[in-house]
Symmetry: C2
DNA sequence: GAGATATACTTAGGAAGCTAATGATTAGCA
DNA sequence: TGCTAATCATTAGCTTCCTAAGTATATCTC
C-alpha cells in the first residue's frame, strides 16, 4: 500500500514503492490462479515449503515466509482443517511441533500449477537478460536488509 | 509469503520470490519507524496520498494503493476514529465521498519521518547507478503487469 | 423518459498479518 | 545442581486484505 509520491529517482524509497506495487500485482495474479484449487497465497507458500521438505517447525516456516510465527499458526490451522497437513510432536525438542503433509496434501502438488506457470506470459516485454539482471539486483538488495 | 524454492534463474517466479521478500522486509522496517507515531503502513500510505493532494475519492485511494475499495473503507474508518481524516460529500457526484484531512491529520505530516528517512542507511552496499537501474527495471515490469 | 447497465461506497464473512503476553520446555551458567 | 534466561508455539486483540452481495446514484439506450 504505497502512494505514488514524487520520489528522488534512484532512492530506496522509490524502489520500495515499485517493489511493493509489483509484489501486490503478482500476488493478485497468483491469487486468481491458486483460487481455482481453493488455496490462498499463504497456504500455497506453506505447502510449497513442505513439498520441498516435509516435516518442518513453525519457526522455520515463519522465517522462510518472512512472517511472524503466529501467522503460521493460523495458516496451519486452516490447512489442518482442510486435511492437507497435520501437527506432529518433535522427538528432538518437546517445545516444538513439526508440520507434516497428509496424503491429500501430498497429492495436491500435482493438481497445482507452479509459480512459473502462473506468471507465464505476464511479462514477455522483458528480455531474458533484463530479468536476470533484475534478479541479481533484488537478490543483492535482499541480502542487505535485516 | 514465499518459499525458497529452486527456481529457474531469471524466471518471473524467481523475481516474484525476491520482490515479495524485499517488499516484506522493507515494510517491516517501515512498520517499526511508523509505529513510533502510532500509524500502520496502510494508514501512512493513505495519509501520504492526502498530504500530496487533499480530498480524494475512495476509488482513487484504492487504485493508488493497489488494494480493493473495501480495504480503504476500513483504513479510513480507523483514521477517522483517530481524528486524522473525515468523510465529506462530493458535490460533483453524490455516489462518492471525499476523504479530507483534519487539522490534526495535516499536522501529523511534520511529526512523521518520510520514506527516505526510514530507509536511510539500509542499503549502502548498493551503488547509485545500481539503484537507478533497479528502479528502471521494476518500473518496466510494473507497467507490463495488469 | 424509463429501464438496463455501470459506478461508488459499504457490509458481511473469512483469511492473513502484526504485537504482546502466556505456558511449556530447554539451555546457560554460577 | 538449581536458578535464570532464551526459545517454541499459542492466544488475544487489532488492523488489513480479499470477494461477493447490497444500496444509492449516474449514465446510456431505446
Amino acid at each position: 500500500m504505497l502512494p505514488e509520491g514524487e520520489f528522488e529517482p534512484g532512492s530506496v524509497a522509490e524502489v520500495y514503492r515499485l517493489v511493493d506495487l509489483v509484489a501486490k500485482k503478482l500476488t493478485r495474479l497468483q491469487r486468481q490462479q491458486i483460487g481455482l484449487v481453493e488455496l490462498t497465497p499463504a497456504q500455497y507458500s506453506v505447502l510449497s515449503l513442505l513439498w520441498q521438505r516435509d516435516g518442518q517447525q513453525f519457526n522455520e516456516l515463519a522465517s522462510a515466509c518472512c512472517c511472524s510465527p503466529s501467522t503460521i499458526t493460523g495458516v496451519v490451522d486452516t490447512l489442518e482443517r482442510k486435511g492437507l497437513v497435520a501437527r506432529e510432536s518433535n522427538p528432538e525438542d518437546r517445545r516444538s511441533l513439526l508440520v507434516r503433509l497428509t496424503d491429500e496434501g501430498r497429492v495436491m502438488e500435482r493438481a497445482t500449477p507452479g509459480l512459473d506457470m502462473m506468471f507465464e506470459g505476464c511479462c514477455e516485454g522483458l528480455r531474458r537478460d533484463e530479468l536476470q539482471q533484475l534478479s541479481g539486483l533484488l537478490s543483492k538488495l535482499n541480502d542487505m536488509i535485516p
